[in-house]
């Protein structure tokens, strides 16, 4: 045991300050709500300010602190900064988009925001965790709150069903992940990623082969992450939960939760599993291809917009993981960039669905018919987000796809890229079909409707993100690239 050191103590807690800050206010908001001391509109505003505060703290930490804390179990490096910003952006947008949804809840309005904040704490911890136990706890913190959120529409049968499916499958995947962690621990005697990596390397050097259980361990961990990421074939929960959960939560699930899992995935596989890449890289490529094919093919036949977006999210994760086969700074950059582009586009798309459903009460694709006449702004935003998801320039989605395909081509995964490009044509078909429904009908459908102000702001911010990342991506790319280079050993 190292003796107590005040400087070290200060540095450790300073590094984790944003999480602490967030946790504190999450407790306050939840507590106030439980005690009935606040009304929901205030707690919403409060939550947003909390996150802005956290963001500011995080920026401050990013500037002043650097490196590992708590004996190397927690790290605030550039990758963490990137993903924390992404997650916090996602949380802010979710919170802002929730206003209407929350106002229609019968009870427990305040706790809703508290839950989101708790989940956000978990995600932020996850991004920074460099040790498997920390990672696991953080992951569970974020997931368990999401179980609650998914079932938040207590009176809605779909929501309850979503909650149940999510919690049970979540539990299984959690057990699977943990089993993998346990085996890895048994093989290397540690749960710290850096040392795991060294351990594997050492054993490989010594015996010329990987320890026998390693493949199983990595596979189990991959399955665990696959669940969080909704990666085919571990995605089965996603469409049902996406459909049943309150839409802001769906957006949150599909964006922030995935971003956190992705960061953790990068840490585990790009750092911890890096020496064993021979074992898992083919599996990743196969799963990515499967995700692109299954996600896109199934999305075509959907009639519910949320379900369609759910399958499209499955495919999107496939595209992100195309970048993973590169296993170098390029790959990490491409995945991170993709996550960021996806954040805005998918969040925007779901918020469009919220805005639409708030006014029409429908989530059927066929009801989008003629939207461009009823609400040109909403239709315009939705079209923009869909085009970004489809990867049409000059939106962020295009550069993101370009980036991941580039990473794969660089490593010679031509077949994977061809699968990617072929399926993205399929993807364009169903995105374009929605656009067609919105824009092409000539006849005027019934009256126009406005979009709530907060939602408009969320949409505008997302659209700005989509366009800026697409048109002037230079600084962001440089920023992410630096982050990726800082933690991925160049090959």
């Amino acid at each position: 045991m190292t003796p107590f050191n005040l400087t070290q103590f200060y540095a450790d807690w300073a590094t984790i300050l944003p999480e602490c800050f967030l946790l504190l206010w999450a407790c306050v908001i939840t507590g106030a709500a439980v005690l009935g001391r606040t009304d929901e509109s205030k707690s919403g505003t409060f939550a947003i300010w909390t996150i802005i505060g956290t963001l500011a703290t995080a920026v401050w930490v990013a500037v002043t602190q650097d490196g590992a804390a708590f004996g190397g179990t927690f790290v605030f490096d550039r990758l963490a900064v990137v993903f924390k910003e992404v997650i916090l952006a996602g949380v802010i947008l979710t919170a802002a988009a929730s206003v209407g949804t929350v106002s229609r809840l019968r009870a427990h309005r305040g706790e809703y925001y508290g839950m989101i904040l708790f989940s956000a704490v978990g995600m932020m911890l996850m991004v920074s965790a460099t040790e498997l136990l920390t990672l696991y706890i953080a992951l569970e913190l974020s997931t368990v709150t999401l179980f609650v959120l998914a079932a938040y529409h207590k009176t809605n049968r779909k929501s309850a069903e979503a909650g149940l499916k999510y919690v049970i499958l979540g539990g299984i995947s959690s057990a699977i992940l943990l089993y993998g962690v346990a085996i890895l621990y048994g093989l290397t005697g540690t749960t710290e990623l850096a040392r795991i990596s060294q351990g594997i390397q050492r054993q490989f050097m010594a015996s010329g082969s990987f320890p026998p259980g390693l493949a199983l361990a990595l596979l189990l961990i991959l399955a665990g992450f696959g669940f969080k990421l909704a990666l085919a074939p571990f995605h089965m929960w996603a469409p049902d939960v996406y459909e049943g959960a309150p839409t802001p939560i769906t957006a949150f699930l599909s964006v922030a939760s995935k971003a956190a899992a992705l960061a953790a995935f990068l840490r585990v596989f790009f750092v911890g599993g890096q020496p064993a890449q021979l074992i898992w890289i083919q599996a990743i490529a196969a799963l990515a291809a499967l995700a692109m094919i299954v996600g896109n093919a199934t999305a075509i036949v959907q009639t519910n917009i949320k379900r369609m977006l759910a399958y499209s999210s499955v495919a999107q994760i496939g595209y992100m993981l195309v970048g993973a086969v590169a296993l170098d700074p390029w790959g990490a950059t491409s995945i991170s960039y993709y996550a960021m582009a996806y954040l805005f586009a998918n969040m925007g798309a779901f918020v469009c669905v919220i805005a639409f459903a708030e006014r029409t009460g429908s989530e059927e694709i066929s009801d989008f018919s003629g939207l461009s006449r009823r609400s040109p702004i909403l239709a315009g935003f939705f079209a923009l987000f869909l085009l970004s998801l489809a990867g049409v320039p000059p939106t962020a989605g295009f550069l993101a796809k370009y980036y991941v395909f580039a990473a794969a081509i660089q490593k010679g995964y031509l077949w994977l890229v061809l699968v990617g490009v072929a399926t993205s044509v399929v993807a364009l078909y169903y995105y374009a079909t929605v656009i067609m429904k919105m824009y092409f009908p000539a006849e005027q459908t019934e009256g126009g409707f406005p979009v709530a102000r907060t939602l408009t702001i969320v949409l505008a911010v997302s659209a700005l993100g989509v366009l800026l990342l697409g048109i002037l991506p230079g600084p962001v790319v440089d920023w992410i690239k630096a982050a990726a280079q800082s933690f991925v050993p160049p090959t």
């Binding site: 569970e140 179980f147 069903e161 299984i172 089993y179 962690v181 346990a182 621990y185």
Partner: protein
């Protein structure tokens, strides 16, 4: 080879895990499913503790992880049971076979 060793623990744990999986897949009752999941967690705990004992006797990492796992599993079970209650209110039953309103 004398007495009980690491292999036995690992085997036991694998068997328990599989029983959990099997129960999880076959139980019709949601609570039964949850219990099966608990079995899976406990299988993992056995592994962890066994590894802690045999691989890293000097540190207690494994035990710590196991304790945390128990805590997390409890939390999860709490939420799960709450949701099962919710389901019961909607469905007047907790047969997981009948909970397939959303599909395809």
């Amino acid at each position: 080879m004398e007495g009980i060793g690491l292999t036995h623990y690992l085997t036991l744990s694998a068997v328990v895990f599989c029983i959990g999986v099997f129960g999880m897949l076959t139980r019709r009752n949601a609570v039964g499913v949850l219990m099966s999941i608990e079995l899976m967690f406990n299988a993992v705990n056995i592994t962890l503790v066994a590894f802690a004992r045999y691989v890293t006797p000097a540190t207690i990492t494994g035990q710590v992880v196991a304790i945390f796992t128990i805590a997390v599993a409890a939390a999860e079970a709490t939420v799960a049971l709450a949701i099962v209650l919710l389901i019961y209110q909607h469905h007047r039953g907790i047969d997981v076979d009948r909970i397939n309103f959303m599909k395809w």
